[in-house]
């Protein structure tokens, strides 16, 4: 057995992003180009897709085949599910959630978007801002993706025209303003020829911004999670009850947002009892501070009744709501439509409670953003609902805190995840 000495590593950051667009926009080609030009494609993958390209009677290498996954998809030439891809540069490690862009797959985009720092919305330069682009922008704003890149692709097919690019930017910006989306970067590119993806190329000299890869490597992401409000949902209580750890009672969980120092006063919710942090325990020894998204074990000064589902928050800070009622935007994910007569389960942080849909305010037409009256929500529908819970949840508005503002809805009978929800407003 060989042990190795400890060596230090560069701390590369992790950036998760999604790509939204249909095959026609060149989404697969863009991903293929990012992987290819960052030298993340392996020889055996390349030889396999070269082989398939030829089998389909085409020339060269179709980079879009790289993102083909399952047999059923290859047979039908479509993407049916979110696929995850990985690549790294010396600066960052990247996780791509590759989501299909068809209308019926809103649920896939919401799924991919839920963990993303950044979204790339692809627009075909020949077609401009389509209904579909608006839909992608709306979903990005709904899920609160911190950074947005509008990739105006296929610039080679419009003669690399600056006018075309600027008109598309203007159209998109007008729409995005209504969504309160800021932090949008616009990049003209040709994924096919590799212009402005990893390399700048020599056709877009009039464009003064950065190439896509440059942006992906440098966009600041350290404020993407809430570092203000300490939220620590308890996952497990650790009581080894061994001789040397007879009285040890550790609360295991992840700092979902904010940070905490030893001796800070904390409030346990929903009970409202308070104590101080005694120790922040990790496998590698005790530490003075824990920061989101670290997983740690906390001990407190007093013997309080704390169990899974409880949340520790910093006393004196902005407090979350403890509530049995809230309003939320919900994306319905299941083929079985919402049935307002039924009870559902809600999993929120580490709590699972029974809930009723008390009211459906409206459903959003995601093409026009109009509100439509609704008595149910079908798969891929997004709507605003009021929920009543059997037991209180400790939550924040999603806009303030994604970790404590999000939940999933589970069908109690077949155990499927049927909806994803984002809390808008809670009642005290």
């Amino acid at each position: 057995m060989s042990a190795v000495e400890r060596i230090s590593f560069d701390h590369a950051e992790l950036l998760r992003f999604i790509t939204a667009g249909s095959v026609d926009d060149g989404k697969s080609t863009l991903i293929g180009r990012l992987l290819h030009d960052s030298k993340s494609i392996f020889e055996d993958q390349l030889s396999s897709i070269t082989h398939t390209t030829r089998k389909r009677g085409m020339e060269g290498v179709d980079l879009s085949l790289l993102t083909d996954g399952l047999q059923a998809e290859r047979e039908q030439g479509i993407t049916i599910d979110v696929a995850y891809r990985y690549f790294a540069t010396p600066k960052r490690k990247f996780i791509i959630a590759d989501t299909p862009g068809h209308e019926q797959y809103t649920r896939n985009m919401v799924t991919g978007a839920s963990t993303a720092n950044l979204a790339i919305i692809l627009i075909d330069a020949r077609k401009g801002v389509l209904i579909q682009s608006r839909r992608h922008a709306y979903l990005a704003s709904l899920v609160g993706i911190p950074h947005l890149v509008v990739a105006v692709n296929k610039m080679d097919l419009v003669g690399y025209s600056r006018d075309v690019f600027e008109r598309i930017c203007k159209d998109f910006a007008a729409f995005a303003e209504g969504l309160k989306l800021n932090n949008i970067a616009y990049i003209p590119m040709s994924a096919l020829n590799g212009d402005m993806v990893v390399e700048r190329g020599d056709k877009l000299d009039w464009y003064e911004g950065v190439a896509l890869m440059d942006l992906l490597e440098n966009v600041p992401i350290d404020h993407d999670i809430n570092l203000e409000d300490f939220r620590f949902p308890v996952q497990l209580v650790c009581r080894p009850q061994t001789e040397e750890l007879h009285d040890f009672r550790g609360y295991m969980g992840r700092v979902e947002s904010g940070f905490i120092d030893v001796s800070d006063e904390v409030t346990v919710l929903p009970s409202g009892l308070t104590s101080r942090i005694k120790e922040i325990v990790t496998y590698d020894g005790s530490v003075d501070q824990a920061v989101a998204p670290q997983s740690v074990t906390l001990t407190i000064e007093d013997h309080l009744d704390v169990s899974r589902g409880d949340m520790l928050v910093k006393t004196g800070g902005e407090l979350p709501y403890v509530t049995k009622e809230f309003e939320a935007m919900v994306c319905w994910l299941s083929e079985q439509s919402l049935d307002p007569r039924r009870k559902y389960l809600i999993k929120h942080t580490t709590r699972v409670v029974k809930a009723l849909v008390a009211r459906i305010d409206y459903r959003v037409d995601i093409n026009t953003l109009n509100h439509l009256p609704a008595d149910t929500l079908r798969m891929n529908d997004i709507g605003r609902v009021a929920l009543k819970m059997h037991q209180p949840l400790v939550c924040d508005p999603y806009q303030r805190n994604h970790a404590t503002g999000s939940f999933i809805v589970i069908d109690e009978i077949n155990n499927n995840t049927v909806a994803a929800g984002m809390i808008c407003m809670a009642k005290d």
Binding site: R107, T111, L227, Q235, A403, N415
Partner: protein, 329 residues
């Protein structure tokens, strides 16, 4: 435009005092942005703790290979100073490298955790697995023994070290992957997985496969092994070994590999990138004798882990997908 957007505006309106994008925060901690290994580690610990909290009777699949070695360290980080809330389970194909089996037992003992071994030899003796020949790869047949073990111990969750970068069917796998009562994976009917909220619910007889290192790459695994100073079996490091060239790969000479017409034995400096079934796990030529050298090699390698090392994955484009549908992990 304003009227139709009212819901969005209401929804998007920032809460007073909330963090707007890019603005400096007064109360910002002395903090550091976590590095990618820290972020991946924390995600995996969170997943393991969810399994422990919500599943009735989980097990952790431990083969002695590098990915499950990483899983064990993550379990230590998740549950110490307590004990693991699950036993370790190994499905022994009878085609494992002896060094790896030795390492498996050594590591389980070192941790003081319970190891359950279920062997494919038994499945063969019971007539549950029928092979054409002794030399055939047993990789695909592990599913039978695994599903039998799941039934025997009534496991409702099996934690495995599979990664999404390994293979394109794995790229679409959930972290909590639901299997029906036949252990089957239905790629078209997976539960959506949002944020870090995992649905762990199953009916009796069904189970969940859990992959805490889904988002890790081969390079991440080696960097983590180096950072944590983890021991791995010898055969991951370069050593001289008798091999034969077959197809695009090298095959280690053992009782399971017979020379075919025109093949000859060569003695080469090689290492294994994966340690699976001896009859189909191919070593690669290498001079890397330390973890650092393996990292250097992995960082510039041009062939995927499975492409280089698994003959059974090269049979067809969908080999892994088909095996997974039948209950493979």
């Amino acid at each position: 435009m304003n009227t139709i957007l009212s819901d969005v505006q209401e929804f998007i309106t920032p809460v007073p005092g909330s963090i707007m994008k890019g603005e400096p925060i007064a109360t910002k901690p002395v903090a550091r942005q976590l590095g990618h290994l820290d972020a991946l580690e924390s995600e995996a610990i969170h997943i393991l703790r969810e399994v422990a909290a919500e599943c009735t009777n989980p097990a952790l699949l431990f083969s002695g290979g590098k990915d499950s070695i990483v899983l064990l360290r993550l379990a230590e980080k998740a549950f110490r100073p307590g004990r693991f809330p699950f036993p370790l389970l190994h499905v022994d194909t009878g085609h494992n490298f002896p060094e790896v089996i030795e390492f498996r037992d050594h590591r389980a003992k070192q941790l003081g955790e319970r190891l359950i071994v279920r062997s494919m030899e038994d499945s063969i003796l019971q007539g549950r697995v029928v092979l054409r020949s002794e030399y055939q790869s047993r990789n695909a047949f592990q599913s039978v023994t695994l599903l039998d073990a799941i039934a025997e111990f009534r496991f409702d969750a099996c934690i495995g070290g599979a990664r999404r970068d390994e293979e394109k069917a794995r790229a679409k796998e959930r972290i909590f992957s639901f299997r029906d009562e036949f252990g089957q994976w239905d790629p078209k009917n997976q539960r959506p997985e949002l944020w870090d909220i995992y649905n762990t619910r199953v009916h009796p007889g069904e189970n969940i496969r859990v992959f805490p290192i889904s988002n890790w790459t081969e390079l991440d695994v080696w960097e983590y092994i180096a950072r944590e100073g983890l021991e791995v079996p010898h055969i991951y490091f370069a050593h001289t070994r008798d091999v034969i060239r077959r197809g695009n790969g090298l095959l280690p000479v053992s009782r399971l590999v017979q020379l075919q017409e025109g093949e000859k034995t060569e003695n080469l400096m090689v290492r294994f990138r994966t340690v699976g079934d001896m009859s189909c796990t191919c070593p690669v030529e290498s001079t890397a004798v330390s973890v650092e050298e393996i990292i250097a090699e992995t960082a510039i390698t041009r062939i995927t882990e499975r492409g280089a090392t698994r003959m059974d994955d090269q049979t067809s484009d969908a080999s892994m997908e088909l095996r997974k549908k039948e209950g493979y992990f």
